[in-house]
């Protein structure tokens, strides 16, 4: 199963920005920075999760959207990141901010290693093996021998902290800004990566592996590194997610998390950097919204939303907005 966008859109790879795209991004960032002072702490928590999901979805998007390797198991990498945060705070007493890069490295290695057997698998088989990973994750986390570290079935609490440098911020306000800063950096790196020769190479592998190999691309190496980078992004998201939830337990990381991530990636728009943000908004808010509409059939309503989105926007929200943008530009020019 390759994820393809139909009809083919030119330059799925990011390019340099136009003036008003740049203005839009700056405006978005300014609003994002003001938000923690303007909303309730409940809404702030939701927005922090949007930022975190956006990082996780970007990771999945690099792998599935750009490189064509489908993953139904990214919740596992999210879990590894979350547990790395919890364990290193509780058992090693490391400061939370220093654990973020550690979680990234740990997940890079785990993703790279998982990518090794995955190299032999393609399409549906890769999807199934990542599915197996996601299914196994909660039980692996409950594993007896690791209970001393993981807290077993009960899980582990993750403490909150004070904002650094005596900043007059509550922990949840600070955590939002901290996550936002990390997200901005990771989006910037991904944007650089995807418009550079690396992005071109991993997309070439998705489009035509044999031709890519003939052009001199080391397919195995690129696929493994892409898997590693993807897991690293999702793992960093997991580490931040543990700080927000202040708690990790095996049942927070079921197959449902993995599936939600895939839903977010597809609905946001595969092979699109901004798609990750739209996807994050979807998986954070649409379930709540569905719940408000009907408590009895929440997930049926959610499913209906999903189908409607996919029907109306076959290239995801990002693809839809791109088409609208192009139409407006053409109208202005004519």
């Amino acid at each position: 199963m390759t994820v393809r966008t139909e009809p083919v859109m030119a330059a799925a790879l990011p390019k340099a920005w136009s003036a008003w795209q740049a203005t839009g991004v700056v405006a978005l960032l300014v609003i994002a920075v003001i938000v923690p002072f303007a909303v309730s702490s409940f809404h702030l928590l939701q927005l922090t999760m949007v930022v975190i999901y956006a990082i996780a979805l970007l990771g999945l998007n690099i792998l599935t959207g750009y490189n064509g390797q489908i993953s139904l198991g990214h919740g596992a990498f999210y879990a590894v990141g979350a547990y790395t945060m919890a364990i290193l705070i509780e058992r090693a007493g490391m400061p939370y901010w220093s654990i973020v890069p550690v979680a990234g490295i740990v997940c890079f290695i785990v993703g790279f290693l998982f990518g090794l057997p995955a190299l032999r698998l393609e399409g549906h088989y890769l999807a199934l093996s990542t599915f197996a990973l996601a299914v196994a994750t909660p039980q692996l986390l409950k594993f007896h021998a690791l209970e001393k570290w993981t807290g077993g079935v009960q899980g582990t609490f993750v403490p909150g902290f004070a904002a650094p440098l005596g900043l007059p911020l509550a922990w949840d306000q600070w955590l939002y800004l901290f996550s936002l800063g990390i997200a901005a950096a990771l989006f910037f790196f991904a944007w650089n990566l995807l418009r550079g020769s690396t992005g071109i190479a991993i997309t070439a592998i998705r489009d035509h592996p044999i031709a890519a190999k003939t052009m001199g691309i080391n397919i195995s190496l690129y696929k493994l590194l892409t898997f590693g980078v993807s897991a690293m992004y999702t793992g960093i998201a997991g580490a931040l997610g543990a700080l927000v939830a202040q708690f990790v337990s095996p049942d927070s990381f079921t197959i449902f998390l993995s599936l939600s991530l895939l839903v977010g990636a597809v609905i946001g728009g595969v092979a699109s950097i901004f798609g990750a943000i739209f996807g994050a908004l979807f998986i954070q808010f649409v379930p709540n919204f569905a719940d408000q509409i009907s408590k009895a059939v929440t997930w049926a309503v959610y499913g209906l939303f999903m189908i409607t989105f996919m029907y109306l926007m076959p290239n995801g929200i990002a693809g839809f907005l791109k088409v609208i943008g192009e139409r407006l530009r053409r109208r202005r020019n004519s």
Binding site: V8, M9, A11, S197, I200, A212, T214, G216
Partner: protein, 257 residues
């Protein structure tokens, strides 16, 4: 083996379940030559290309490129050695633009990696500028200026063939393998292709191995022609000699009938 031989193929055999696709084929390609490779459908021409690209491994025989054995080299290292190719049934990167396809062709000459790209180091920018310049030259050479930023999927067949050629040239090959570049082209386009192949060889100083069914094109553009039939070499010589070879005539009449 002549001293200026760029490519030497010796006793190469390839078998697929029940089929002998190549059967002890040997010939040399001299540096700077355009060598035609002809033969009826299923003769084994593309199979030979796939051996040179290291997509297939022959059951027997050796191949030397610039005097060094080729069969121990991994497929993704072939471009770096200086062998580029086009594909008989187009193998473009469909969602990517013409320019991006050409940039992939230059991959063997890029040094950027995940880290340098993510940080967009000055070396990455310099390399990007160099590659963009080279891509522009190829876009001009192959008259792709009007479609440079269009997704290849929406182009006509003939244009796609030119994109494949540009992409192969972006790898700066010493040996260029063209698999039926004239397939699906009309008379005028074939004439343009003939001048183009000659011009490319002279300007870029490369050696060409050309698989083609279009006899007029092969015979006019080639310095030497090799003919295959059922995986065996049946003739090898100047276009004039091969054209009049009784085995070659029989092979073509035999399949035409």
């Amino acid at each position: 083996m002549s001293s200026d031989s760029l490519l030497s193929i010796r006793d190469v055999s390839v078998r697929f379940a029940g089929i002998v696709a190549l059967d002890g084929v040997s010939f040399d390609v001299a540096r700077g030559d355009i060598c035609g490779l002809i033969g009826p459908n299923g003769a084994g021409k593309t199979t030979l290309f796939n051996c040179l690209s290291r997509l297939y491994t022959p059951a027997a025989g050796t191949i030397a490129f610039e005097g060094a054995p080729l069969l121990g080299v991994a497929a993704h290292k072939i471009a770096q050695l200086g062998i580029g190719r086009t594909f008989q049934n187009l193998a473009l990167f469909r969602t990517m633009t013409v320019r991006q396809n050409i940039l992939v062709g230059a991959h063997a000459h890029t040094k950027a990696n995940f880290v340098s790209d993510a940080l967009r180091l000055p070396s990455v920018r310099a390399e990007e500028a160099r590659l963009a310049g080279e891509a522009d030259e190829l876009i001009a050479l192959l008259d792709l200026g009007g479609v440079a930023d269009v997704a290849v999927d929406s182009l006509t067949f003939a244009t796609k063939k030119r994109v494949e050629l540009a992409r192969a040239l972006a790898g700066k090959p010493k040996l260029l393998l063209l698999d039926e570049p004239a397939g699906g082209l009309n008379h005028d386009e074939v004439e343009q292709l003939r001048t183009l192949i000659g011009a490319i060889r002279d300007r870029l100083k490369l050696t060409v191995l050309l698989v083609e069914h279009h006899m007029n094109l092969v015979m006019r553009v080639s310095d030497k022609v090799v003919a295959l039939d059922f995986g065996r070499k049946i003739a090898d010589g100047t276009p004039c000699v091969v054209q009049n070879d009784p085995d070659v005539i029989r092979a073509y009449l035999g399949t035409a009938a």
